[in-house]
């Protein structure tokens, strides 16, 4: 816990991502699976930064991915003639992060005043509301969405545009996953993490201990939202080169994020990674072996796991390595 050893748990995380990446590059035909797994890990980690650390469930979370996707799409479709080269992608990521941060500030200003279940209820409508706002007010092309594959080719050239959407977009997803892991570990090991732990356990007692709970909730909320924006910009916008409102404001992705976090262990560093890998792999094989039935089969499995292991897989692992030499690597 002390001094130099306190950031050691990043080692197994980086190792896991490196292995996953190597497997994807070296095995023909498995890149899409690997990319999907990386997406789930990143989604779980980004979501965990708020939901896992504070105990607040944000049902509108996918809206942050949605506006991030739009951030990248709007940037590329409007700046493609600017001769920016690859700089356009960097600007796209910045715009994505700014969009999702602004939305987080707007949602947080209202919803973070509410506690527990009231917060969850208040956020349920956010993604639907945002979707209908875009469609109804015809913002960003309304229901027609933005198709920007042509703009991407103009900006980067045909070959580079192709390689961005088939390969680099997924590498950026890995990048978001690593960034989320670094931020999670940094928070866990510093005052922010202890403040969040305290307010998750008992918000009134935390206040009495001198913790400005609202401030720390906002920090976690915005961090989590900004990461979601980057994830949407890479895993959705750059990969697909189009964006339609019904695709990106789909509550289904929020539910997947909740499952991943609970499966792996809320509030831990490694939980969302374990959860993301297990969820992604099982979904993949169930889709092959029992196409069409995967959700029907998955639901009871998830219920069983959550009832039997309420602390998630990493919660159990932490108990197992307690007092051993491995302890300092697991959080």
């Amino acid at each position: 816990m002390r001094g130099t050893g306190k950031y050691l748990p990043i080692v197994p995380v980086l190792a896991a991502y490196a292995l996953l990446l190597l497997y994807g590059v070296a095995t023909p035909g498995k890149w899409q699976l690997v990319a999907q797994l990386a997406f789930y890990c990143a989604l779980g980690q980004a979501f965990n930064l708020f939901m896992g650390m504070t105990g607040y469930v944000d049902f509108g979370y996918v809206a942050f991915l949605g506006v991030g996707t739009y951030g990248m799409a709007v940037t590329i479709s409007s700046l493609s003639d600017g001769g920016l080269g690859l700089g356009i992608i960097l600007i796209g990521f910045l715009v994505a992060a700014v969009f999702s941060t602004l939305l987080a500030m707007a949602v947080g200003a209202v919803a973070l005043r509410l506690r527990g279940a009231y917060f969850a209820i208040a956020t349920i409508g956010v993604n639907e509301g945002f979707r209908y706002l875009i469609e109804g007010a015809r913002i960003w092309n309304g229901a027609d969405g933005i198709i920007f594959s042509r703009h991407l080719k103009t900006a980067l050239g045909r070959k580079m545009a192709m390689s961005v959407s088939t390969f680099w977009a997924d590498i950026f997803v890995f990048g978001v996953a690593v960034l989320a892991a670094v931020l999670t570990l940094y928070y866990l090991r510093n005052k922010v993490g202890y403040a969040l732990l305290a307010l998750r356990e008992d918000e009134d007692a935390a206040k009495v201990m001198g913790i400005d709970v609202t401030r720390f909730k906002i920090i976690a909320f915005i961090t989590s939202a900004a990461l979601a924006g980057l994830l949407g910009a890479s895993g959705w916008a750059l990969k697909l080169t189009y964006v339609y409102p019904p695709d990106v404001f789909e509550i289904h992705y929020t539910v997947e994020a909740i499952i991943i976090v609970l499966l792996g262990g809320a509030g831990t560093l490694m939980g969302p990674i374990a959860g993301g890998l297990i969820y992604g792999v099982s979904k993949y094989f169930l889709a092959i072996t029992l196409p069409g039935f995967q959700l029907l089969i998955f639901a009871p499995i998830i219920i069983a796991i959550i009832v039997i292991f309420p602390e998630g897989l990493v919660g159990i692992l932490k108990g197992k390595v307690h007092g051993t030499r491995l302890e300092k690597y697991v959080i």
Binding site: Y194, A205, M209
Partner: protein, 251 residues
């Protein structure tokens, strides 16, 4: 200058007046008990001092600052520590982490990083004698151990005023005596003021407090040195009723 000054403080919930025009002061280093039967408004008074509730009327000064409208975390930064009637340690955090959280965010919190706060926590773990439980989650401790962790957590905040809500409820006489000795020891070592809420354990009040404020139906009944307060006929009436008082007078 008093450390804490409450001036004509009132709090209503709907039509019910929970705290009715209460004024009192406490000086640095004082040991005071707020006493009263169930429903007298003690805990509401505590929540007003602490900032969990804001008063409808009146003013509260702490350490020379008008804190009447301050949220509780700002009062904590000025040096107000508190324990709860039913202990509320952060259950999944270890004993050491619980106490370190107090050190990190309390009055001394600004200058301490996580590692320094953990070291401060270790000192208080020694003080409460729970070294064997240092790395255990606080949720698994016995009620008395939880109470001790809560006191240590509040002390690690480096308060100038420690508010203890029913610190001795549910304890046997031996534990009460130990706790009284422990609280007096803390006051002497840390040089802080302690306000304890006590519902009916007069053994604790007599041993602990130098001054007693008795509340009855939301209002201040008496505010006197302990011996006088406990023998005050009005106090006896509140606790035992008029019949008993008359019985005492006859015999």
């Amino acid at each position: 200058m008093p450390l804490l000054k409450c001036e004509h403080v009132s709090k209503r919930f709907g039509g019910m007046v929970a705290v009715d025009d209460v004024s009192f002061e406490i000086m640095t280093g004082e040991l005071m008990a707020i006493v009263g039967p169930n429903g007298a408004g003690k805990t509401t008074m505590f929540n007003l001092i602490n900032g969990v509730f804001l008063p409808d009327e009146g003013h509260i000064w702490f350490a020379g600052v008008d804190v009447t409208r301050f949220p509780s975390y700002k009062r904590a930064h000025l040096g107000m520590g508190r324990t709860f009637q039913i202990p509320r340690p952060f259950a999944s955090a270890t004993v050491q982490e619980n106490i370190a959280i107090g050190a990190m965010f309390g009055a001394a919190g600004g200058e301490l990083n996580v590692e320094e706060a953990m070291e401060v926590a270790d000192q208080y773990i020694d003080l409460i004698g729970l070294k064997a439980h240092r790395n255990k989650p606080a949720g698994g401790l016995t009620p008395i151990e939880k109470k001790l962790v809560e006191i240590a957590r509040a002390l690690a905040m480096k308060p100038r005023l420690l508010l203890m809500d029913e610190a001795m409820a549910g304890m046997n006489p031996k534990d009460i005596d130990q706790m009284v000795t422990f609280i007096r020891h803390i006051r002497d070592v840390e040089g802080i003021a302690v306000v304890a809420l006590v519902e009916h354990i007069m053994r604790a009040v007599a041993g602990l407090a130098e001054r007693v404020l008795v509340m009855h139906q939301g209002a201040k009944l008496v505010d006197e040195p302990t011996r006088e307060a406990l023998n005050d006929p009005r106090v006896i009436e509140v606790y035992l009723g008029r019949q008993a008082e008359e019985f005492n007078a006859k015999s």
